[in-house]
Symmetry: C2
Subunit: 223 residues, 2 copies
DNA sequence: AAGATATAATTGGTATACAATTTTTTAGAC
DNA sequence: GTCTAAAAAATTGTATACCAATTATATCTT
């Protein structure tokens, strides 16, 4: 799935370059250790070095790439410890988001939730990609429902950061189905303004995801 | 207190520009609404537009300034709601940090804590600036003790973001003294690996800070 | 094959130019 | 004097060219 460069003419060139590069990294097309050469990218995208540099700076400030002075820009290798760290942080922030979302639940948001809940109850026949997208969408709606832009921003950054790895944890047989089921229960609790249940289920959900990731890594290290 | 531009020749020009501008904003010398003109800054610091732009982008991604295309870069006005939001998020993350710090406490870190604890027990004769610095240092040591670089990064970003405002909440009579005392108790609990006490005291501390801020704002709106 | 040396490549920064747009100034009308 | 409209200036976004410092790579020597 090659990310598309063109389209969206309204955006600035640097914004398009940023999104393109971030997509490529998040989708694993640029892998850890890959070098990103300004000149090459500029030629490839038919733009000058300037917006490329600006996009790279932004990616660097978000931890996706690292610039080694006068050597090159390389895609960062995210360590297992770091992923576990992020899961730990997410545990706190997602619980907070669930709490806020349940507290601030209103009619309009309930309608949004209901739509997602229906989808989560009928996963049969969905492709892997569709399930993945539904997972991301569910998260997004949940995070937005907390009605705290700052929190949303943090959650987006953190989930993006470990996106590739949280996908790998789905390799554990049955984990993906379990995860979607947990998501469904969380959505129902939050939708019904059950603050404590929402917090509790979210905590369990992230802990399970974290454990699945750790087990997956352990498994694939030995054999 | 005009931030110094020169010195630290080892750092890249863009890094120095970034720190200079961030200092100026955090110390309130550039206020909300002020325009930051690339050309002016470049002339003032005797560098070209390039590193200035790079510094501005970084500040923008952290929410300190906002670029309006072909219009200018202005220092962002941080709303009261946003400050409250950040306090809420900090409550979760600081509690997590206290927990991790208590769990991972080791001999070396205990020595660092002991030094700070001694200072916190003898505030007499310290100037306002010295007390402020001690407050920041205490936070930093606490955050570092969680031994989670990602968490440290998030906490630094958030506390920086509301730095000016958390200072204003100290205007409430007695709040600063109370805050320092709370800090002292947190440090003692965490130092002694008392996880639950550390979490509890931290929660109370942030809640108090948040309440002090809200009250201060309310007070100064009416009168 | 190994090591030394020369050459390429790459980023960091400067400088200049120009288009698109916004802000400010100016000129004019009344 | 004040309002309006046109002109001028200012500002960012992008491109291009250039060079220094450093690193990667290729070449040569032994």
């Amino acid at each position: 799935m090659q990310s598309k460069w063109v389209e969206e003419d309204l955006l600035s060139i640097r914004e398009r370059a940023y999104r393109y590069l971030k997509d490529m990294i998040l989708n694993g097309e640029y892998k850890a250790g890959d070098r990103l050469v300004e000149r090459e990218l500029a030629d490839k995208l038919h733009i000058s070095r300037t917006p490329i540099r600006e996009a790279l700076f932004r990616l660097e400030s978000q931890g996706f790439v690292k610039t080694v002075p006068r050597k090159g820009v390389v895609v960062e290798r995210i360590s297992e410890d770091e992923v576990v760290e992020v899961f730990t942080i997410l545990s706190s922030l997602e619980v907070l988001a669930a709490k806020l979302a349940a507290q601030k639940m209103d009619d309009k948001t309930q309608l949004e939730f209901d739509q997602v809940i229906v989808k989560l109850q009928n996963l049969d026949g969905l492709t892997e990609a569709e399930v993945s997208k539904l997972h991301l969408d569910t998260n997004q709606i949940l995070h937005k429902a907390a009605k705290s832009p700052k929190l949303y921003e943090l959650l987006t950054g953190l989930t993006d950061y470990i996106r590739i790895f949280s996908n790998t944890s789905y390799e554990t047989p049955g984990r993906k189905e379990e995860s979607m089921k947990e998501h469904l229960e969380i959505m129902k609790a939050v939708r019904n303004k059950d603050v404590e249940m929402g917090e509790y289920l979210t905590k369990i959900h992230i802990e399970n995801s974290k454990r699945a990731y750790i087990n997956y890594v352990k498994q694939n290290k030995k054999g």
